[in-house]
């Protein structure tokens, strides 16, 4: 009995070691493939949070809503901002291009969001990587309020980032940050590795009128709850899931099955054609063609 047990243990130990090495081998292989295919992607994952990162989402929302609740003069109809998955996916797709320019699909219906028809966008870029923090980027936008004159609705310098952040009717936001090892294009620091931070807003702001109505805080919230000078509404703030991805996402075709199918099918077809012809040659020994 004792002997049997001992045998059993040894066998199972053997099995464990085998499966361990197997796992290890597989792990290193997948690691190698990842390393070979996308070194930039791996770096990004280590450097900056993803769009599903809870802390990242929290910080984006906290900074935006803080900026919205401390506007001066006070706003009477400012809505509380919540996260939107679709907007974040679009922001991530555009950030991946490492280009300091507005999304070219922003005004095309269905290209930037599955539900919202108007989407706004703010972009921040900085180098080196350590320059970036969510707080700093959003503060840079909010600090444009120094150039903004509410009474005349006039900007002394660029302040459209600020007016989008504090646009009263905008209640959804989605942000993404991307590391750009070969620099962010169309900036003055193009040659240094840097970060690009994109936020998309819905419904879009920056129409030719003031971003919010002046008055006593929350006085135009209707029967909605007021908290920290912002209007709250549970149904409006509910997170939505879309299972949607923009079709222009640069990361899509590389990893999509369509790309792989194309890469595999055509060379495989050549092998198939050659072997087919070889077999036919064996069968029909008198094959020939009139090629003049």
């Amino acid at each position: 009995m004792g002997w049997l047990t001992w045998r059993g243990t040894e066998q199972s130990q053997d099995a464990t070691i085998w499966s361990y090495t197997m796992c290890n081998w597989r792990h290193s292989l997948s690691f190698l493939i990842l390393l070979l295919s996308s070194p930039a992607l791996r770096m990004t994952k280590d450097l900056f949070p993803d769009i599903v990162d809870k802390a990242f989402i929290e910080e984006c929302l906290r900074e935006h809503n803080a900026g919205r609740s401390r506007v001066s003069p006070p706003a009477s109809n400012m809505l509380y901002m919540t996260w939107d998955e679709g907007l974040a996916v679009t922001a991530r797709a555009w950030a991946r291009k490492c280009l300091f320019e507005h999304n070219i699909y922003l005004h095309e219906k269905g290209k930037v969001h599955p539900v919202f028809t108007t989407v706004g966008e703010n972009i921040w870029a900085g180098a080196p990587y350590t320059m970036f923090s969510v707080k700093k980027a959003i503060e840079d936008w909010i600090n444009e309020n120094l150039h903004y004159d509410y009474d005349n609705h006039h900007c002394k310098e660029v302040c459209t980032h600020y007016t989008q952040v504090v646009w009263a009717e905008t209640y959804k936001v989605g942000c993404a940050v991307q590391a750009c090892p070969s620099g962010v294009a169309k900036t003055t620091f193009m040659s240094t590795p840097g970060a690009i931070f994109v936020c998309n807003y819905a419904p879009a702001g920056n129409y030719p009128h003031a971003p919010y109505l002046n008055g006593e805080s929350c006085s135009r919230c209707g029967n909605e709850k007021c908290d920290n000078k912002l209007c709250h509404n549970i149904t409006r703030e509910e997170p939505r899931r879309y299972k949607w991805n923009p079709d222009w996402d640069p990361a899509l075709p590389l990893f999509g099955s369509f790309y792989k199918t194309i890469l595999i099918i055509r060379p495989l077809s050549l092998v198939f054609i050659f072997s087919c012809v070889y077999c036919l040659q064996r069968h029909y020994t008198n094959l020939f063609a009139y090629t003049a």
Binding site: Y259, R266, P267, I273, V277, T291
Partner: protein, 150 residues
Amino acid sequence: MADKTSAVALEVDLTFLKSKRGLLKIAEMVSLFVAFVCFAVASSSPYLVATSMELSITLALLLLYLLKLNKKLTAFFWPLIDVFNSFFAAAFMSTVSLVAVSMYTQKGTLAGGVMGLVTSALCCLDGFYLFKKITFNLPTAACRVETCDT
């Protein structure tokens, strides 16, 4: 000596370029190249890969005929390989182009898809034209070799 033999070995068959099949191959390459440029402008990589693969295969076949390599590498019956390849290329390009046309987000992808459809039509024509010239088991007494002038 070596130079002389290699010069002889790489004899260029310019008459092929002027023949109907040669012109068809060149037309295929031109339309593929236009499609390639369109896809490159739109930076749609799966289509770009498809057209570049097709472009290199067509170029390889053209060079094969142009340098008369088909008469040296006799292990394969090249006309039949060309026919099969043309039909497969037509099917492959039309599938890829239809996907491109139906799912385009940029005008470049749409233009590339249309050019891809033109290419697949040309491939079909090329394959059909050559296939008509192949006989399977009716050797004429006059020409038993793979190619013979008529």
